[in-house]
Symmetry: C2
Subunit: 403 residues, 2 copies
């Protein structure tokens, strides 16, 4: 068992709820802080100083100082009952890279730092990407008073761990960073299907989330002839299928209806209302720019044709974020030097890299996810796949921070 594999197993035991329960280390939890302490001990063991900033981001700095540094990072927080690779692999492969490069006597021409950003997942307070946003100087106003399911505010949760929300500096700390590298599991099936060792991320998708309500007329399903119905679910079903067609015929676009409900919900009652959510994504800024209007136009046409009332509200919106071409090229060269097969691909999920990328050169490296499964105890990447990813990451660091 190599050091990275051993680290992955050791870390999974912190917040681990056993084999079937997966790993639970939500933001600001005792488990997450224990993982930080574990990381600090690993840093100390290889002679690198640990630190934690006011926003709860953990650092190992090689050497300590003010940078500007090449930053390797990801996150150690998880969703409830998550897997042991999402986030953790990026941090632990960064640790592996520093450990290996120090052992090999590599002398970087700039500091190489490792970070674990606080609360990438956001499941507890709806504050996804909190740590990287704080680090990038994003506006955090209003977040302190958000409550978790137990009614605890973010401010209180931070206080309980010795952190002060109001002490987070408003300014970005990015003048201390000259570049950002993040290795992550793909959380999708593309690499498994293509058989490539690594994916080099070209951009992180933009996405729009919509809440849709269609209203028709609830009626008795036995006594109302088909011609006299205004069935809201028929409109919802058309939306599901026509959005799928839209995505299928536009390269790189995904569309999903993941939540649907009807009212009143009786077996013998024609649905009078149907609510559903729409999630549409594209990594191409040009395509992304028209997606929202295209989807809304499609919904309006269906509502008109089905004689339904339509209400659409926006749930979320994130522009696509292109990653840095110099880093993309470095990853490609690094893969070549390590004998790893690589493919360029967009990231369909959000990551801390998208927060840093508008400000500093940022790049991401994917390794395969078995069955594309993530946010689940069954999440898995083989030790060999992890090791190849870590080697390509190390080689990229030598290319970017080499003499």
């Amino acid at each position: 068992m190599d050091e990275l594999e051993r680290d992955l197993l050791d870390l999974a035991a912190i917040g681990g709820a056993g084999e079937s329960g997966g790993v639970t280390r939500v933001a600001w939890s005792e488990g997450l802080l224990a993982a930080y302490a574990w990381l600090a001990r690993q840093g100390a063991a290889i002679g690198v100083d640990p630190a934690i900033d006011t926003a709860g981001n953990a650092f190992l700095r090689w050497p300590a100082g003010d940078g500007p540094a090449l930053l390797i990072g990801s996150h150690l927080d998880t969703v409830p009952h998550g897997g042991r690779f999402d986030g953790a692999l990026g941090v632990l492969s960064g640790l592996d890279v520093i450990r290996t490069l120090r052992r090999d006597g590599f002398a970087p021409r700039c500091p190489v730092w490792l970070t674990a950003f606080m609360d990438e997942e956001g499941t507890r307070f709806g504050t996804a990407l909190f740590g990287s946003r704080a680090f990038a100087g994003a506006d955090l106003s209003g977040l302190a008073e958000r409550r978790d399911a137990a009614g605890v505010t973010l401010r209180e949760a931070m206080q309980a761990r010795g952190f002060d929300f109001d002490a987070i500096p408003a300014a970005a700390q990015l003048d201390r960073v000259r570049g950002y590298l993040e290795l992550h599991i793909e959380q999708g099936p593309v690499l498994e299907h293509s058989g490539d060792d690594v994916g080099i991320v070209t951009s992180i998708v933009g996405l729009v989330g919509l809440h849709v309500r269609l209203e028709g007329q609830a009626n008795h399903a036995g006594t109302t002839p088909m011609t006299l119905r205004r069935d809201a679910l028929a409109g919802g079903a058309r939306a599901v299928l026509e959005l799928r067609e839209l995505a299928r015929r536009t390269a790189g676009v995904t569309a999903n209806v993941g939540v649907i409900s009807v009212e009143p919900g009786g077996k013998n009652v024609v649905p009078g209302a149907c609510e559903l959510t729409v999630d549409i994504r594209s990594a191409d800024p040009g395509v992304y720019g028209t997606l929202d209007a295209t989807a809304r136009g499609l919904l309006e046409r269906i509502a008109r044709e089905e004689a339904l009332e339509l209400t659409v509200s926006e749930l979320y919106r994130l522009e696509p974020v292109p990653l840095d071409t110099t880093i993309i090229d470095a990853f490609e060269r690094a893969a070549e030097l390590e004998g790893a097969t690589a493919r360029r691909m967009p990231s369909g999920a959000g990551h801390d890299a998208q927060i840093l990328a508008p400000h500093v050169p940022a790049g991401m490296l994917f390794v395969p996810s078995r069955g594309g499964i993530s946010h689940n105890p069954a999440e898995y990447t083989t030790p060999g796949q992890c090791a190849i990813g870590s080697r390509v990451l190390a080689r990229a660091v030598t290319l970017l921070a080499g003499a």
Copy 2:
């Protein structure tokens, strides 16, 4: 205000929860028994003797005795927060008919009885059509131990009102009946759309209820390319639309998906499973005979094309019940004599008449429902429409029970 209109308002006050709350007289409730007492007083006022049988069916017998009688009936129980016409109008128009015919000196050649069958709605114990089923000698085994939402069994609810479930005779009491007439609100929009005064029911639809589960693969909606998805909701959506097409192209058939849900139900998760209910109906025995197989074939084809696992289970099944042609003809002649416009039509909903029809000649008369609305405080039929229905019913009684 005529007597029927006054009776409808008086009765609605028993178990009435005010204008907006509608009428609540569920089976075996104090409110329903109070309505029976009220009905008995109305009978006494016109010189007709009341009775209640062991199954909780209320009777007014003109004259008392053993029959065989022409039975007019419907039910006085309601769904929670129901309307004041569903069931009640059939009983009160029967009362109106007896009152009018007695006043007019009509001498029937057979007894004319009125009944209010217990628990037509079945919302409390899932025992719909209980009273008419008991009266027709149907197998009631197992029903006594069914529980309502408060955990009370049917047996206990009956005991609380002085009834003994085990005293219900196993044998039908239909040798006391020579025919059955039921006036009811349409609970649909057909008469309102056609402008006819009454509908003469030719048959009561057969129906099949199915529970459908489609299983695909839950995936991240951003990282899974459209071509690698097995979206269970896409299959569900196709089922909704293809069942609608099936019903639209087959005369007299209705199809409804009234309940739908997806798992895991995350906005950014491709649905891994979709469950829905299907309700398909036809009054035509030939069409009905093939409906179930056609629907299942359609579902199997969709599951195959979408690479989903399909599980179908039957929730309910009732064969179509043709009504008696002599009574249908009598209703048509009665409408003509009363100057009422009539149309022959199937009933898309179930009624006590369907329980009696296989055993004795049975017929049903519909009056319009405003907006097709029923099981709702907004249920409404105008006093004029009620009066026309009652007059046609009275005339049919004179034709069927005349000298």
